[in-house]
Symmetry: C2
Subunit: 209 residues, 2 copies
DNA sequence: GTCTATACGCTGATAGAC
DNA sequence: GTCTATCAGCGTATAGAC
């Protein structure tokens, strides 16, 4: 029986507790290895509440997914609003993704690593979602204005973001044991070598925070 | 009731039928959305046989996984045995992976796209398996003998194979609607631009089949 | 070795009190 | 809105005949 003092704990909203618990469990065990009872237990709510708020386990996952997609989208919008060159935008996004991977591991895992098709059958693949489309557009804009050398759009995007995302996967899988930000400078230099017109050294400098 | 004539159909071994059916189902619906009954039905065998041969659903998945890892490993050994430069080896592997993605879609999907952790909890991640280690070694050998410019090993490998693998993911997710081999030449040219010492145009030429 | 029929636990979901 | 108690169905696994 908790003392009254314990009640002074910040009363985190119920929805939030559920989503936080769900994210943690989904990432650690995988969606299908988590039951509604598990979520209920970890979030300290009743099953009834979960069904009232989200309509069931799939509803929780979908809500989580949309929520995080929104966060992601917002992050990209912020970067675009910052008035950088398109190359700098790419750099900044990679930097942010690398930092997220270290500080908010579960989010990146859930968004980049999870197979949503298996539990959200009606959702299109993540890569076709707005944030990823925008990332591809940034590369296209860069080619249009001559910042980035012309080439097939899929190839160029894969070369810019694909290798970074691949490193994120390797990090999440525990193969790379150094924090990703430590790779940032060398990776960026490597990415643009041969992808930008001659003598554009300024792409090297880290973007301002 | 089938006529005797039907019995002339090549008697494919029972194990093989099970594994083929399982691969198909796992890839289409995801491991957790497939029941032993589904496999049994599609393979035209009884549940008992599945338990006799593989000990259960997880056993089927594990057997399938090992089997395909072996195939993959063999493919790489063949390439290494071919006496090519390390750069050519990378090219050849990317070419083969692209071709596999088109011709043996399910295999690539199951090996590169599936989250094995969720149903084979004791297996290390695919990327730490021998084939992938060998791919990283090829890049390292290339750096050692001066074919490939020196740099961090993770970064260089991600730049060489990561972008190709990323394109495979995009293709499997249905975003890229052209067969991957059509991207091969431009991608290869793009990959080595800035990664090999000056004037090494020969990397461009497609490797002999 | 192969099959059928059956058992049993777990999970998603609901009903109904508060 | 929140909770507890309960249900129905599915999916793994086994027992035992052939």
């Amino acid at each position: 029986m908790p003392f009254l003092k314990d009640k002074e704990i910040v009363p985190e909203p119920l929805d939030c507790r559920i989503l936080t618990a769900a994210l943690d469990l989904f990432v650690r065990r995988g969606y299908h290895n988590v039951s509604v009872h598990d979520i209920q237990r970890m979030a300290n709510v009743s099953i009834g509440s979960i069904y009232n708020h989200f309509g069931g386990k799939e509803g929780v996952a979908r809500s989580l997914y949309y929520h995080l997609l929104d966060e992601f989208e917002e992050m990209i919008s912020d970067v675009i609003a910052e008035d950088l060159t398109n190359v700098e935008r790419c750099n900044k996004l990679i930097k942010l993704l690398f930092e997220y991977t270290e500080s908010r591991y579960e989010i990146v895992e859930f968004m980049l690593h999870a197979k949503h098709r298996e539990f959200l059958p009606d959702e299109p693949p993540v890569c076709s979602a707005t944030p990823f489309r925008t990332m591809r557009n940034i590369v296209k804009w860069g080619m249009d204005v001559g910042e980035i050398l012309h080439g097939d759009s899929w190839i160029t995007t894969s070369r810019v973001f694909g290798s970074a995302i691949h490193m994120i996967h390797l990090r999440l899988d525990g193969l790379i044991d150094k924090p990703l930000p430590e790779f940032y400078d060398e990776l960026i230099e490597n990415i643009w070598r041969g992808l930008v017109p001659e003598k554009q050294d300024q792409v090297l400098k880290a973007v301002p925070d």
